[in-house]
């Protein structure tokens, strides 16, 4: 621990390590004649306020920083709705192969048939897993997949001259991205309540479903970790009033080989490759959010997508792949074709698992969640009368432990080297703790988590102070978020003139 100006710091900022004249890498001498610079456009070299550090400074600094993080590689990470499963190491190696990492998106398609073939297969595999007719890999994240999907639904109606449809229905248990996405697209959000069982209130849905509705966004399984009991009836209601059904695929890890959204009747959906298909979360991205479409929605997919532009002359040969813009496309949602490096990782994962492996992934994800739910039933308020899918929500409070909140339980978990569950979501559950163990955790790890959770429930009554003051042995303790919002120090002072 260092002291600077009496503020204790874990690790200095890289700028605080800077000494004039140091540099962490050498660059080649200029091997061509030098040209004259346009003097009036030049920047004073001293004005480029970057740190000056040696290579070992850089390495130690960032290794130290890494050690202050909790990752899947360091411990259990039951963060609900985020699917923090193990990220296989081979995925990192395949994405870095030079034929993938060192190719350019504007190369002639003839030079990149391997990459296009990979994308073609992945489009088809995701379609097969989901029961959709086709997939565009372009969206950069789940939120962008959603955005694409809702734009597609809007355009579908407008193409048919139906411009009255300006509203979109979301359940009150939905992810915050759903209503935010609808607003971005310029649609009015209608929220429908959940019934006492955690399903969509069908009577409420019927009362708002009309000819002004673009469609409905539904997460399956829902954010309580439950498979909507009446999903087909809900889809019939929305289709019945001329609306389209969007599936938020954030929870697809429960469904591979278990049920296909396309078979259920969804028209559009997105995938989170960084959840279901084991690509790493990266401390908050990059993700990848491909969007899938039923037959009648195919022309609207964002693009370009990969297509076969020439069939092979004999069956042994690969076809010729190229870029194709879907004929009524909503357009391009990001530059180029998608987060290709993430697509390579997902492709690698599907290939390593195969169809039976993917089904077992979902089965074990559900098994693990139900096992924890069953073991926590007596000590926590959990809706145990129903089987959950890949996650479940517990209430982090008790009548006989006043003052203890879900946040306290979360912070106390950190003392045991366990990442907290998702807090305060979904909004419809009081003091929600959303727990998603994923399929890659062993029974020993699940048992340890249960034991820690039982101990915390006991401490909530016997020693609540230890919960309120937690965490105790993390690199920093509870941080003053109000101060951060008030001070707005978003940049190192000496650089930004603070």
């Amino acid at each position: 621990m260092n002291d600077s100006d009496n503020v204790k710091v874990l690790e200095p900022l890289i700028y605080e390590l800077s000494r004039p004249g140091r540099q962490a890498v050498t660059l080649p001498e200029c091997d061509v004649p030098e040209s004259e610079f346009p003097a009036d456009l030049l920047r004073d070299p001293e004005d480029v306020l970057l740190p000056e550090v040696s290579q070992i400074d850089v390495v130690r600094h960032f290794v130290h920083l890494s050690q202050f993080n909790h990752g899947v590689d360091t411990g259990f990470y039951p963060l609900g709705s985020c699917t923090m499963k193990y990220n296989p190491k081979i995925n990192e190696d395949t994405a870095r192969l030079p034929g993938f990492a060192r190719i350019h998106p504007l190369q002639d398609p003839l030079q990149v048939q391997g990459a296009l073939g990979l994308m073609w297969d992945l489009q088809n595999w995701l379609a097969e897993i989901s029961g959709m007719a086709g997939v565009s890999l372009q969206p950069a994240a789940g939120a962008q997949g959603e955005f694409s999907g809702v734009l597609m639904m809007r355009k579908y109606h407008r193409d048919r001259g139906d411009t009255r449809r300006t509203k979109i229905i979301v359940p009150d248990s939905s992810h915050g991205t759903n209503p935010a996405t609808a607003s971005m697209v310029g649609l009015e959000v209608i929220q429908v309540p959940s019934d006492p069982n955690g399903d969509v209130d069908r009577a409420a849905l019927l009362s708002v479903c009309g000819d002004d509705v673009v469609g409905m966004m539904l997460t399956v399984p829902n954010t309580l970790g439950l498979f909507e009991s009446h999903v087909q009836e809900i889809i019939e209601i929305v289709h019945g009033c001329g609306g389209l059904m969007y599936m938020d695929g954030a929870n697809l890890n429960a469904l591979m080989g278990i049920a296909k959204p396309g078979d259920l009747g969804f028209d559009v959906m997105h995938f989170n490759l960084h959840k279901t298909f084991s690509t790493p979360h990266g401390g908050g991205g990059p993700g990848s959010g491909p969007v899938g479409a039923a037959e009648h929605m195919l022309p609207y997919l964002p693009g370009p997508v990969v297509g076969v532009v020439e069939e092979p002359s004999d069956e042994e040969e690969a076809p010729l792949y190229g870029w194709v813009m879907p004929e009524r496309s909503i357009g391009r949602v990001k530059s180029f074709y998608g987060n290709f490096g993430i697509l390579v990782r997902a492709f690698t994962y599907i290939l390593a698992n195969g169809p039976e492996g993917l089904r077992q992934v979902s089965e074990h994800a559900v098994l693990n969640a139900n096992y924890i739910q069953a073991r926590l039933c007596d000590a926590y308020k959990v809706a145990c009368e129903r089987f959950c899918m890949h996650e479940f929500v517990a209430e982090g409070c008790w009548d006989d432990a006043p003052g203890v909140r879900a946040l306290d339980i979360s912070k106390r978990l950190m003392d045991f080297g366990i990442h907290p569950p998702t807090n305060y979501f979904p909004l419809i559950v009081h003091e929600a703790l959303m727990i998603e163990p994923t399929e890659t955790e062993s029974k020993e790890m699940l048992d340890r988590f249960v034991e820690v959770m039982l101990q915390i429930a006991e401490e909530a009554r016997s020693n609540p102070d230890i919960l309120h003051s937690a965490p105790h042995n993390t690199p920093v303790r509870r941080l003053d978020e109000v101060k951060a919002a008030k001070d707005q120090v978003l940049c190192y002072g000496p650089v930004c003139g603070g």
């Binding site: 080649p28 061509v32 040209s35 610079f37 456009l41 030049l42 920047r43 480029v48 000056e52 850089v58 050690q67 993080n69 909790h70 899947v72 923090m84 034929g99 060192r102 504007l106 030079q111 048939q113 391997g114 073939g117 029961g131 950069a140 939120a143 809007r154 996405t181 278990i258 979360h281 990266g282 401390g283 991205g285 993700g287 909503i330 357009g331 391009r332 949602v333 990001k334 530059s335 490096g341 993430i342 599907i350 195969g354 169809p355 992934v361 559900v366 089987f387 990442h419 062993s442 993390t474 920093v476 303790r477 509870r478 003053d480 978020e481 101060k483 951060a484 707005q488 978003l490 650089v495």
Partner: protein
Amino acid sequence: MTYLPHTDADREAMLAAIGVEDAADLFEAIPEAVRFPALDLPGALAELETMTELQHLSKANISADDFAWFLGAGVYNHYIPSVVNHILLRGEFYTAYTPYQPEVSQGTLQAVFEYQTMIAALTGMEVSNASHYDGATSLAEAVVTALQVAKHKRRKVILSPGVHPQYREVVRTYMQGADLDITGDKDPTHTLDDLTARLDEQTALLVVQSPNFFGQIEDINGLADKAHAAGALLCVVADPIALGLFKPPGAYGADIVVGEGQPLGIPMSFGGPYLGFFATRKAYVRHIAGRLVGETVDVEGRRGYVLTLATREQHIRRERASSNICTNQGLMALAATVYLATMGKRGLRQVAELCYHKSHHAAQQIAALDGYSVDRSKPFFKEFVVKCPKPAAEINRYLVEEWGIVGGYDLGALDPARADEMLLCVTEVNTHEEIAALVVALSEVAS
């Protein structure tokens, strides 16, 4: 199975604890008619076989490992120091989620704070967010910010035709529900004067790119004053490497600076994942989308970092949020931070100077060839347009097949009338020998 740890005994014990005989019983809520569908996918491969298959696909592509590279147009073949990849491969960084729990995420949070500082410093702005998906979506978010600053009363955005064509496409995709007048870029001959002539009381934002898509440095001096006089904001799309050598948009009074962060230690990777940087004035901080990290202290007075000003964001505000964005490009922002720390104040300048000298040397040599001309009407940084004696597509095929060179971007892809022009890119990676080979090859294909 591949990544599943349970033994048969584990499964049985767990099923017994749940109170079911078979795991299939857990799925009774799913309509029977659609339950347990077959998946028509290739059978599972062992790790060794998986790697063999991926290597096979990788080798079917022409890569910068084996070819001399002169293709840019928004994605660049810059050198990535070894340190960058070694840090990115720290599992503590890449297997973590968004740092909602700051006590166990100080590594990610402090790195993002350093990133925000470096981007603010490079662009000459006061504040940077934690990044967007790529340069194109960063620009789309700049448009959203400008509309919010104008309280949605202004409905016009002026785009320079020099802005990357795909960025302009993405802006239009994002805004298709917004009933906005997006103008200025239809005529490729439009100058900055033509654009400023369009500024009026309806204009929320003027967007220019410098160096522009064709590599030229635009004269943005005075542009901000003109935009501000009309009550509009000025957004500049910048190249982060060029900012090591040329005056930053902040020095010219820009209100928002965005751009593609890929040149900062991120591989070309066939179009992504990349990094969109976004910097602005502190006055607009509540109108911007995406994550922000701020400094604070913990209960023991230790310095620490947290996500802040989250009341702008979707998980709090839902339909009233400034954007639906959840993630930034966390790991890519880390790559840029490590890259900029490794290069440092002097290294980034050296990279920029090498790009400048090598591209100008190449331009000079090519301009001297019979049948070729180079547009030198404005200063350029690392890219320049070459008019060729033959279609660029034909020349590029020859370069790849006969010389092992990936040539420039064929401008005929944008406009069929420009099929004999290409946009060549030269960076610090290109050697004197590669440039000499390109010049000889161009000379030979012309004859």
